[in-house]
Amino acid sequence: MGSVLEQLINGLGTGSIYALIALGYTMVYGIAKMINFAHGDIIMVGAYVLYVTVTQFKLPVIAAVAITVTFCAVLGITIEKIAYKPLRKAPSLAVLITAIGMSFLLQSLALLIFNANPIAFKSIIDVQTVKLGNTTVSGVTLVTLIVTMICMITLSLFISKTKAGSAMRAVSEDKAAAQLMGINVNRTISMTFAIGSALAAVAGILFVCQYQSIKPTLGALPGIKAFVAAVLGGIGSVPGAMIGGVLLGVIESISKAYISSELTDAIVFGVLVLVLLVKPSGLLGKNRIEKV
């Protein structure tokens, strides 16, 4: 077992992957007021696309990554267009069930194309382990931390500083008023799904480089963990998703190392329940009354 610092860094690594995924849940919730339960499966699709582009098409890593991210972004837009958009005015239960159905559909498609056997996948991240005193950090973890950091900073700047980012915030607050400003609400929702899915693709790439195995249900666990992270941070809040994800990863890693790996999930959910008891809207969530 490594040092506390090492556990902390590993926790940050997994946590930042959760954070990337959680961002998709929270942004989509903010703008479309729905939980996209198929979001976790985008991670899985990303992993398979990466596998195909790297091992079948033998593309260079950069190209494979670019194709994976683009593929997932387009998939996200398509799912919204065909499955969720027709249900904008439907009761939220109908939307929820559709999202769960979409999740099953993606998993079944992967099962059809690649079958259920896990595929071994060699990490595309070729970075040496770094040693600092008696703390070792794997190359994958290091790259994960750097990549997620870049993604989160870029996203934050995009949302807070650009015209499109302000439009996104305006649409999530008041769609009718946003339309009166000339903002195309459909296009803004598409963009949000694209960004969320692209981030999930990046998360998927980092995830398979860590675990080096791909199967159709691969997205389920990180998906649900990231959902917990988004709720923990306050669903709808972008910084909340980041903090929630990282926090979750660290708690997991520390409790795995020092308490018990069997109890880890119980501890994670325990923390969630505690936070929600004290602050029902999550760490950074707003106690805003939903407008209809």
Binding site: S166, A167, R169, A170, E173, A177, A178, Q179, M181, G182
Partner: protein, 236 residues
């Protein structure tokens, strides 16, 4: 031909008919007041004009464009701005960000900066508070922000839905002064108001709405002296 011509407009919410075959027009440069009691259908009319609601029947001609066929987000760039009921500012954005959203369809940055300066001159409070989160503004300041935001698009016509709602008498006078200024600077105004006295005092013409029908219309000064209007809307 009038700038804005509404013909035989019928609007439903489900099976309930809110607007029952209304026709009216707004000429360029006019201030038109639309008055009527709660639930008469004033907001519904404005929402239908700017595309937030689709009418069951009727046409809305704005300078040759049939607005019924144009999606809501494409209407502001035709030169029509709408200050909605309840202000509907973006509470979590700053004052400046709200104003910039008003200029969303305008791509000329330089021109946007100039308009911003003009708005700040008209609403000095907004300049002082440009980096404040809009949700923390007072009601009157929020109304100014909503108007400033609409003016950022350089509208040729501006639709205002109860701009004086919930404001102190002092603020109400200020808001009406600003509406007069907006009109004098050449922008056509379609004003929905419950404060009929104030609205009629600055309007050229007015329409009186009752449960989805126009029951009275004409010169604003004449309507102010109309007995039925006096009794029903001016509290005399």
């Amino acid at each position: 031909m009038a700038m804005l011509t509404i013909k035989d407009l019928n609007v439903y919410y489900g099976v309930i008919q809110a607007i029952k075959g209304i026709s009216f027009e707004v000429n360029e440069g006019e201030v038109i007041a639309l008055i009527g009691a709660n639930g008469a259908g004033k907001t519904t009319i404005l929402h239908t004009i700017t595309g937030l609601i689709t009418p069951k029947a009727g046409s809305i001609d704005f300078e040759g464009n049939d607005l019924v066929k144009i999606p809501a987000h494409k209407i502001v760039s035709l030169g029509m701005a709408h200050v909605p009921e309840g202000r509907r500012i973006f509470a979590e954005l700053t004052v400046l960000e709200n104003l910039k959203m008003g200029a969303y369809t305008r791509s000329d940055k330089k021109e946007m900066e100039n308009t911003l300066e003009m708005i700040y001159k008209r609403f000095p409070r907004l300049k002082e508070r440009k980096n404040q989160i809009a949700g923390t503004l007072s009601g009157g300041e929020q109304q100014m922000l909503a108007m400033g935001r609409a003016l950022m698009s350089h509208p040729r016509i501006i639709l205002m839905d109860e701009p004086s709602m919930g404001l102190s008498p002092l603020f109400v006078s200020e808001i009406f002064d600003i509406i007069r200024e907006i009109s004098e600077s050449g922008t056509t105004v379609l004003l929905v108001e419950q404060n009929a006295k104030k609205a009629l005092s600055i309007a050229d013409r007015a329409y009186v709405l009752e449960t989805g029908n126009i029951v009275l219309s004409g010169d604003a000064k004449e309507l102010m002296n109309d007995d039925s209007v006096k009794k029903a809307y001016l509290g005399e």
